[in-house]
């Protein structure tokens, strides 16, 4: 039996989490199914995909030094605690 599709606004609310791989499998399936069928939502997904391609390209740049230091400090603190 075919499930009812989730509405567009629910898909929009979940789209970033879907792309980030943060949805539970069932919710991710629902979004996936909707995007395949919906002519309004797919272009929005396509638009975000282009943004993430850009970020992947830029991501080869080093992190800002200050942020890198903070991450190291937090990892160090975790190690000392544990």
């Amino acid at each position: 039996m075919k499930r009812d599709m989730i509405p567009c606004d629910v898909v929009m609310r979940r789209l970033w989490a879907f792309i980030d791989g943060e949805l539970d499998p069932e919710s991710a399936d629902q979004v996936h199914e909707h995007l395949e069928m919906c002519g309004r939502c797919y272009p929005r997904y396509d638009f975000q995909s282009a943004y993430f391609r850009l970020m992947e390209r830029v991501g080869t740049q080093p992190l800002p030094d200050e942020l890198r230091s903070r991450i190291f400090a937090s990892l160090l603190a975790e190690t000392e605690q544990g």
């Binding site: 606004d9 970033w16 929005r44 638009f47 991501g59 740049q61 992190l63």
Partner: protein
């Protein structure tokens, strides 16, 4: 009702009172059917055999006083007050070795009760803050729709990102407020998931999401405006 039957009822009542707890002595609790460690129902009179010497005599007599105090702390919420009294006596029992014999046990119990209540309030506030952050993230998630509408209003499509210059993206990220920039860099450039970012930045995952989604919206709108204003797409595609 006849006078005779009233007198009989009074006699019965006296008999009943006289029969109650015939074996009870002041310093000798009656045998309990089974040992209980449920402090919420324990009374000094039928206190369980406690392994920690002195606790039953010193601490348990203050249960009523602590309960009255707990009721004031919880604005008369009987359920909350009951939980609070139970927690207080459980903690007191666990840390009985820290109680200095001969000092004021009632004050010691009140201090535990007050601190326990403050901790419960803190936990409730944290839960509320997390719920609010999740709600906010849900609203911010709609940015996905709004940036797309914004791009369309400026006659741009997904190609805008394929043709954006890397150095302009870096400048636009640097221009974000610190709290947005950090989560965006960690997520979109650093590939950390929400839980990992939460740990690194020290904020709940709901806040990670709301900041990240807002940061993406701001960044994308800035890039769209830049592309539209500078005519860069026309130059590249020409």
């Amino acid at each position: 009702m006849s006078l005779e039957s009233i007198v009989q009822r009074i006699r019965d009542a006296f008999d009943m009172l006289n029969r109650r707890d015939p074996g009870m002595r002041l310093n000798e609790p009656p045998p309990a059917p089974r040992p209980r460690t449920d402090f919420s129902t324990a009374q000094t009179r039928d206190a369980p055999e406690l392994g920690k010497a002195g606790f039953a005599d010193e601490a348990l007599p203050w249960m009523d006083a602590v309960h009255r105090f707990a009721l004031r702390l919880t604005n008369g919420d009987t359920d909350q007050a009951a939980d609070l009294v139970q927690d207080t006596f459980l903690k007191a029992y666990r840390s009985w070795h820290r109680f200095e014999q001969g000092t004021n046990c009632r004050s010691w119990l009140f201090t535990i009760c007050k601190n326990t209540h403050l901790r419960i309030l803190d936990e409730a506030r944290t839960r509320r803050e997390i719920a609010e952050a999740d709600l906010e993230a849900d609203v911010e998630a709609m940015g996905v729709l709004e940036v797309h509408e914004h791009a369309k209003s400026r006659d741009l499509d997904a190609g805008v990102f394929d043709r954006t210059l890397d150095e302009h993206v870096v400048a636009a990220i640097d221009a974000l407020p610190d709290e947005y920039r950090d989560v965006l860099v960690l997520s979109d450039l650093g590939d950390l998931n929400y839980a990992e970012i939460s740990e690194v930045v020290g904020i709940p995952t709901g806040t990670v999401k709301s900041r990240l989604f807002r940061a993406r919206r701001r960044l994308q709108e800035r890039l769209i405006d830049y592309a539209a204003d500078s005519g860069i797409l026309k130059d590249v595609s020409a």
